[in-house]
C-alpha cells in the first residue's frame, strides 16, 4: 500500500471508528463507550492492557491470564458455544468477578458504570460489530434434587459423559486427562475442583451451573453439553456435582432441619 494510501486509510479509520463505537443495553440502562473508556483506563488496564489484549503490566504475574478481549471469546455466556455473549453476560461477569482468578467482583462500581464498561470492552473485538449473539439458553424449571436425580447424575458424571476424565472420580480436578489440558493460548489450565469449590467461575446457583453445562466455557477445554444432555439430565448432573463437597451431607441435614 502506498504512503498516501496509508495516510488515507488512517484518516478513514479516524472518521469511521467513532460511529462504530459500541453501546450496551442492560435492562433499562444504556452503557456508553466514552465513559466506559475512562473507567477501563482507571480500573481494568493494569491487567487487560491498553489494547484489551490481556497483556497489561500485571499480566505476567497472573495465572490464569487476563482475558484477551480482542478475540471476542468469553467463558461465561448464556449464548451457545462459539457465539459472542449478550451484554448482560459481560455485565454479570464484571459484577460477579471470576472466582479462583485475579478478576474481582466490581460491585463498588455502579450499575451504570458497569454497563459503560461493557460498551467499551465490545470495541476491542470486531466480532461484536459483525456477529449477532446466538439464541440465549432456555432455562427450564429445575427438577427435584432427590436421590434418584443424584444417582442419575452420578452415572452421567462417572460414565456416560465423562466428566470424571478431567474433573476426577471424586471431583478433585485430578482426572486422567486433567494434566494435559490447556486453554486456547496453550497455557495449562486446571479443571474445577468440585470438592473444595465453594463458588464457581460463572456463578454459584444451580441455574448458573446448568448454564455452564449447556453453553460450555469458550476458550477452555470445558465443552457445551447441549448436544449430549437433555435438560433434566443437566439438572441431574448439577445435583450430583453439589454432592462432591465433603460438607454436603451436613448442609443437606441443616437445610432439612430448617424446614
Amino acid at each position: 500500500m502506498s504512503i498516501s494510501g496509508v495516510a488515507l486509510s488512517s484518516l478513514l479509520f479516524l472518521l469511521v471508528v467513532p460511529s462504530f463505537a459500541q453501546d450496551s443495553r442492560i435492562g433499562s440502562l444504556t452503557g456508553d463507550s466514552k465513559r466506559g473508556k475512562k473507567l477501563y483506563q482507571r480500573y481494568c488496564i493494569g491487567c487487560h492492557g491498553q489494547q484489551g489484549d490481556g497483556l497489561g503490566e500485571n499480566a505476567p504475574y497472573l495465572e490464569p491470564k487476563p482475558r484477551d478481549f480482542t478475540i471476542g471469546t468469553f467463558k461465561c455466556r448464556s449464548t451457545p458455544s462459539g457465539s459472542v455473549p449478550l451484554d448482560i453476560d459481560l455485565f454479570n461477569t464484571i459484577g460477579r468477578g471470576i472466582y479462583s482468578t485475579a478478576m474481582p467482583p466490581w460491585l463498588p462500581l455502579t450499575r451504570q458504570q458497569r454497563a459503560d464498561l461493557v460498551a467499551y470492552i465490545k470495541n476491542f473485538s470486531p466480532r461484536f460489530r459483525e456477529e449477532k449473539p446466538g439464541t440465549p439458553l432456555d432455562l427450564p424449571q429445575e427438577t427435584p434434587a432427590d436421590n434418584d436425580s443424584i444417582n442419575r447424575g452420578r452415572e452421567l458424571y462417572q460414565t456416560t459423559i465423562k466428566c470424571a476424565t478431567c474433573h476426577g472420580k471424586e471431583g478433585h480436578g485430578d482426572g486422567p486427562s486433567a494434566a494435559t489440558l490447556t486453554d486456547r493460548k496453550g497455557d495449562p489450565i486446571q479443571p474445577t475442583n468440585f470438592s473444595t469449590a465453594t463458588r464457581f467461575k460463572c456463578g454459584e446457583s444451580n441455574p448458573d451451573l446448568y448454564g455452564v453445562l449447556m453453553t460450555g466455557m469458550d476458550g477452555t477445554p470445558m465443552p457445551s453439553f447441549s448436544n449430549s444432555l437433555k435438560p433434566e439430565q443437566a439438572w441431574d448432573l448439577v445435583h450430583y456435582i453439589r454432592t462432591l463437597r465433603p460438607d454436603w451431607h451436613e448442609k443437606a441435614k441443616n437445610a432439612g432441619a430448617k424446614r
Partner: protein, 251 residues
C-alpha cells in the same frame, strides 16, 4: 476510491498474467463445475529418516483402550514406501483470485472412530458444511481452536446426531482436539476456492479443473511446515509437481 483495507490483494491479483500474456481479470465468475482440461497432479515425499511416532496411552478411557488390541501410535508424520507423505494439504495459495465459486453441497465428514479422527486432516471451502460424526461408544468433545474463525467446543455423547457447522473465513489449518481424549488431534483447512487436495497414503494428489494461469502452489504439513512452488498452467495439460519435505526441526 476508498477501499477497505482487506480488498487490496485483489489489485495485486488483477496484475497476474497467464503464460499467454492475458491478465487474470478480477472478479471473473467461474463456477466450480466448469470442467477444464488443465490441472495439476503429483506426489509429496519426505527425504531422510521419518520421525518416530509415539505410542498412545489410552488408559484415560477404557472404552477407547478396549477397541485396540495393539496400542495405536500418534499420526503426526505418516510415511509410506519411498518416503510417500500422507496428510499434506496441497493448495493454490496465490493466483486463484476472487472467482465466484459454488460451495459444494456435500458436507466434509470427520468421523470419531476408534477414539481418533478419521481422517486426521480435512479440507473444505468457506461456507461448506462440515459434519462431525461420533461412531464410538464414548463421549467426545470437538474443540476447534482457530486463529481466524470462531472457537467453539461441543460434546458429543454416543448416539448423538452428527454436528453440522461451517467456517466463515479462510484458515490453514485449524487444529481440532478432544480434551477428554488428549491424544485425539486433527486439522481442518478452510479455503475460499476449490483448488486443494490432501495427499493419500501414496503421497499423491490431484488438483482437477484448475484453469490456465500463474499460481503459487503450497504444500502444508502439520509438523514439517510449508513448501511453495510457482507453476504455470496451460490449457489442456495436467502439470506434474513434486514436493520434497526434509525432516528438519523434528526431534
Amino acid at each position: 476510491m476508498l477501499l477497505p483495507y482487506g480488498l487490496r490483494n485483489d489489485d495485486q491479483e488483477s496484475a497476474t498474467t497467464t503464460s499467454d500474456g492475458s491478465a487474470i481479470s478480477r472478479g471473473v465468475s467461474v463456477s466450480s463445475d466448469t470442467a477444464t482440461d488443465s490441472g495439476l497432479s503429483g506426489k509429496v515425499t519426505l527425504s531422510g529418516q521419518a520421525p518416530k511416532n509415539k505410542v498412545i496411552n489410552m488408559a484415560a478411557d477404557p472404552v477407547c483402550s478396549k477397541l485396540h488390541s495393539e496400542p495405536l501410535t500418534t499420526e503426526e508424520v505418516v510415511v509410506g514406501p519411498e518416503g510417500a507423505l500422507a496428510n499434506v494439504i496441497v493448495y493454490v495459495s496465490e493466483g486463484a483470485g476472487n472467482r465466484t465459486v459454488a460451495t459444494p453441497k456435500e458436507p466434509e465428514v470427520i468421523e470419531q472412530k476408534g477414539c481418533r479422527y478419521q481422517p486426521r486432516v480435512v479440507a473444505l471451502q468457506v461456507g461448506q458444511k462440515m459434519r462431525v460424526v461420533n461412531s464410538d461408544a464414548t463421549t467426545h468433545n470437538i474443540h476447534p481452536i482457530p486463529a481466524n474463525n470462531r472457537e467453539w467446543n461441543e460434546s458429543q455423547a454416543p448416539g448423538v446426531p452428527p454436528i453440522e457447522t461451517s467456517f466463515g473465513r479462510e484458515e490453514i489449518a485449524i487444529p481440532v482436539k478432544c480434551n477428554i481424549h488428549p491424544w485425539m488431534k486433527g486439522y481442518i483447512a478452510v479455503l475460499n476456492h476449490p483448488y486443494f487436495a490432501i495427499t493419500s497414503k501414496d503421497g499423491g494428489f490431484v488438483l482437477k479443473d484448475l484453469p490456465p494461469g500463474n499460481y503459487m502452489i503450497t504444500a502444508w504439513h502439520e509438523r514439517l511446515g510449508t513448501l511453495n512452488q510457482k507453476v504455470v498452467i496451460v490449457p489442456k495439460e495436467m502439470k506434474k509437481v513434486e514436493f520434497t519435505f526434509k525432516p528438519q526441526g523434528v526431534s
